[in-house]
Symmetry: T
Subunit: 146 residues, 12 copies
């Protein structure tokens, strides 16, 4: 069974932990579950990694060569600063879907540029946790029609 | 039954007409059908407009006040140049989902800025025609949980 | 009797319609009435046009050649994007007064530049609907002392 | 009786003194008279200051706390360079109307930015000396409807 | 017989009407006649459109698919602001010649950039009405040697 | 007893080790001792972390949720490049004092911008090791008067 | 006994006078008292000046040559605009500590650059009135170890 | 008989020599022949210069004072870098037509600015060698109607 | 006898006072003497003003109307920041010579722009105190040949 | 025997693994062998580190203090983003040679700036794997002639 | 006898030749005579070169090593574009005086930057031909007091 | 036997002549000898040119068509300003190695951009005269493996 790599960047481990009244009680585990169940509908398994360490994420992406068919990534703050992460993604030559839970275009100007978007196939912004589902479906369709 | 307004901007009438070997044979009618069927799953109807005239789009958005619950828009080239369209969207105070069929981040630098994104709830880029379905689902969920 | 052309740009038809508790109940009709009554004190009539279509505004400005002595314009969002409107104003060689109801200097940076201001005689910003009255008086004085 | 503070910045003392054939014979005294007579129609008195010394203007603005209800200011060249004047205006928390006799948008680029406009209620540009009258009326209406 | 589409943008309807002592008495009709007679020498007919409405121009360009072999365009002010017009030109995949009657490089800085030039084959600037003739000849040679 | 988290960024482990004649013999341990003794005067304990790994610092900041009342941070080179560190600080919602031993305003232009300063309460620059003491006192006063 | 010159720039005379519920009741006199008492602990006296006139501040700085050992300055708005004040500070060649009561990095972009910081020894930002105490201690330590 | 000066800048001597399959076999001699034959139709002779030495081109332009009626120039790479060439053109006060064989707007950004265009009467870009013919005709018409 | 106004800006009172070994022992009095003796050779008297107060300099320039034939000015730091001083110079419509003792082009980038240079007739930079003599001679020649 | 530290940044572990037909079959091990054999000719040993973790690289550089005589570094993507790596290099005060296998000047604009180049002695770009040999020779000559 | 090298850049050979009613009848020969007579008063001879060829000027500057004591240069258009000329000046390590006949600060923005000014001792702008005399005197004083 | 063209730009003739204590006594002749001996190891001959005249360098590059297999160039100051030189290099379609003796990244910002680097195969910076040897070897390997 083909697999997706799900990558979540720095600080995303705080999801659902802090201020549940405001941000809801969905946690990173819920994100992983949602990604797994969506991928399952496309007959794909999921490897998931979250880390606050850029190097851990790069190592995980490298490990996806030969094991995964595509990558769904929410790079968090690395979106705006990490050329190394971008190079890892192009280095393994897998199709990429980029997700941002909140609408980064409403935030500070330094969040308006992404080092990932132009090497991704698709980008989902501001759709909340559901954005991961759209990313999985979008990249699964992309993989299966290639 | 609540309705969505589907807005397609300039040159999107050419969809599917030109170079079918490359871009596929899906036309703007197919986009409208996809939006209608997706919206129907959320018990919503669809009003659809496409025009190469900025003013026609603004008039249609104004007409959505009181008749529609949300807007799904692919502003085409107006994305990058039309403050008037942005002001129409904020003027009617409806939630907005922005869609771009291709990945605008891979194209010319003047396509990297959108006057719509920071007044939209969610933005779907590069997911092909399926992006409209994600936009409909995303904005429908937004409306129904408000 | 000399005439003024009153031009109102995109989205100004929404004046007074939306959120009357906040923005007041004065509508675009009230603006036109205020302009007419002010102009009458200077023995001038008024032709009025509002449109969300740039082309309609340009056509109306062209039609003012030979029939109007001056133009009072609130270009709305076209202020910041329309070179064509600017060229129409300079093309008919009539004196221009520019009005903005709200204080555009407090808003987004893209609203801080006007393509009209340097081809206008005077600019009134942030004085609310009364700004139209000042614009009429200012341009009428300009016309009558030329 | 409520009072306005009228502030005129550097070099405005030269008004009417130099090249009367070109600029007219209206002097700074005429400006003050116009402001007084306009204010009187709104039952307001006027304190007037002109200085080429930034510090004198700031001191005068500070002195307006508790004695004046609003400020009408033509900051002259300080418009473009004085953060201290801006801070004085916000420091006394009085509503402000900004006036420029000539159309600064037609002049050098360094005159296109104002440190005052976004802390003012209204801005009148290019209406000649009459601009002071519009500024007085505009700020008086603002004060009396607050 | 192959046809050219001649597109003239906003405010070009004023040609020859205003200030004939300065700009000459050649009107837009004379431009069309010049284009027709030049095209005839290359055995080509001409469809001509002028509008102050961006949407009308885009619609006309779309209509040229399958009916015209090339486009000669003076986009007027849309040169500098309209991505939609650019996309219409690339959308119909016809070769384009761009003409400007006056030398735009001597004018305001915002007129120094064209959204059309890099999608055109050739650009003629400052040659007066004759520039249309050079554009027709240039694009006709291009078409006939392809 | 309330605790402070003391965070020292990359290369600060070299303090006092290199060129003692020039930089003095105070080491990172001395910094920690100074912070501890100062905090003790405000009845606060100290958790201290130094790392050249961004991820280690982020993890430590996350761990301060619920255990520490404030953060004193010298982000070193991450000051200028790490959005992830900034997001960790805002993610745990603790008050922050930023310290730089040397005067970064005298150094290369890329050191003049800090991603931390606008999310910190106070910033101490150029005061040498004593700057940590001021930061501790400043943030302790902030915490205890909240 | 060595002396410090304490310089407070424009509008700082309003400290504690306006909105005491918000900003507290500490006035400029309280600042001077705090500086005096802190300096006394380092066996230093204090000369204090506050003015809204740039020239008065420059004259005071000049007068410190030969009479003072260091300068503590809150330049207020002159921070961002006054090269003359900077030149006065370097002209008298005394060590300088710069203080800002609020966190200027959270305010408008034009407040992010200081003409003083790179000629100061240390900079204290956002620590409230206590920042003056840190500045005095910091510059006193600097003077006494030179 | 009036004369034109034809100026070709650096590297244009390589025309037709290199890669004839791609660029055609027309050489610089063919350009000169085309210019001569076109000029002859306007009763004008041609002086021609090509050099890779900026100084040679400037000397030739100087020599055209009193001997030539106009200049046709393809400045090659000097277009973008040579103020001296621009000054030579304005120094001899002859009308100028600028030609570029290829469409420089499709090339690197540093080729988008020309130091010649705003001192030329007309500019022909991307019309291939025929562009020289249009330039000759355009400048000949300009000269003969002056 | 015609007079020159000699204006020296902020901090120039420190000339010759500080570090005589480095900067020499020539003081501002020596500058005035040099200007007087040079002017005398052109049968001109000298009014001299130095101040650290911008307003004092502006007042002195205003007072030169009708009494002086030209102005020699070293604006010091106001060179780079004072639009008001520039406006005073153009307001009195006297010819101006600008002097800088040191070579400002070797100093910080913010010293490379002068608000005075484009309203001056001539500018002397880096010639030391002798620069004043050249400025006097230059402006005297300018006055006497007008 | 003196030693070199060889540092390879993120993603360089993929060398030779991916697309051997295109990039050749030389791997990172081959790079290390080449560096060792080249260094041996200069009587130097080699410590080698590659990591996708910035912190690991910084730690390795720190460890080179007292053990290595120079550093040869290919910082990969950290070239363009890591001030921390730069600071580590200057912190250990060893001479540095920077290598890039491909010609970064032909790639995206964000790869044109290096935070390492101005703290390196020499920079080798685009020479393929051989570039490491030149870097070793260059830095060895530098070390041995110091 | 010590010698000066007088360097005049491109197009300065046109001095006095063109439009004598406007620019006067002084030619480049008159400039050389003025420089010779001024230099003679300081017991210096003059070598003079003018060329429109950058290389000729550089060669002449190189030849001044060992034969001349200083350089007076009006680089003409090379002021703004020639790093090679700048490097020649620093390469021969002679003191330099830069002259511009007209006030370049009143001309196009690209003339506001000089590659020579920060490697010159003094700069004379806008003083007409007399500026050469001031430059000679200034650099002679500089040489003789070294 | 294949040949290399060695090109040295302006001011490089001064190598070794000036300040031998500082820069060493190696002259341009030594550079040529080093290049010849290195090339000989790759069975290549060398044509060498140095000039301060851009045109001479371009002519020499043109002459290399058909006679040389590659170019080694130190463009000196033309690196940063000469598009013509770049075009000559691409015009002859030979592989290029760029050399800079000193580390240009440590010098003025205008030396950080090269018009040659992105059309070269490899770039060697800061390796002193040895850099020429690396360039020769690098480009020889490139030629011989093509």
């Amino acid at each position: 069974m083909a697999k997706l790599l799900l990558v979540n960047g720095p600080n995303l481990n705080l999801l659902g932990v802090r201020e549940p009244d405001t941000y809801g009680t969905d946690s990173l585990d819920d994100v992983v579950d949602l990604v797994r169940s969506t991928a399952a509908r496309w007959d794909m398994g999921v490897d998931a990694v979250q880390s606050n360490h850029e190097g851990v994420l790069i190592d995980a992406i490298h490990a996806a060569r030969g094991t995964c068919a595509a990558i769904v990534i929410n790079p968090g703050a690395f979106t705006h600063t990490s050329v190394a992460l971008r190079d890892a993604l192009t280095g393994v030559a897998l199709p990429v879907a980029e997700v941002h839970i909140s609408n980064i275009h409403r935030r500070e100007p330094f969040r308006h540029h992404s080092f990932v978007s132009d090497v991704a196939e698709l980008v989902i912004v501001g759709a909340g946790l559901r954005g991961y589902a759209y990313a999985v479906e979008g990249i699964a369709r992309h993989v299966q029609q290639c």
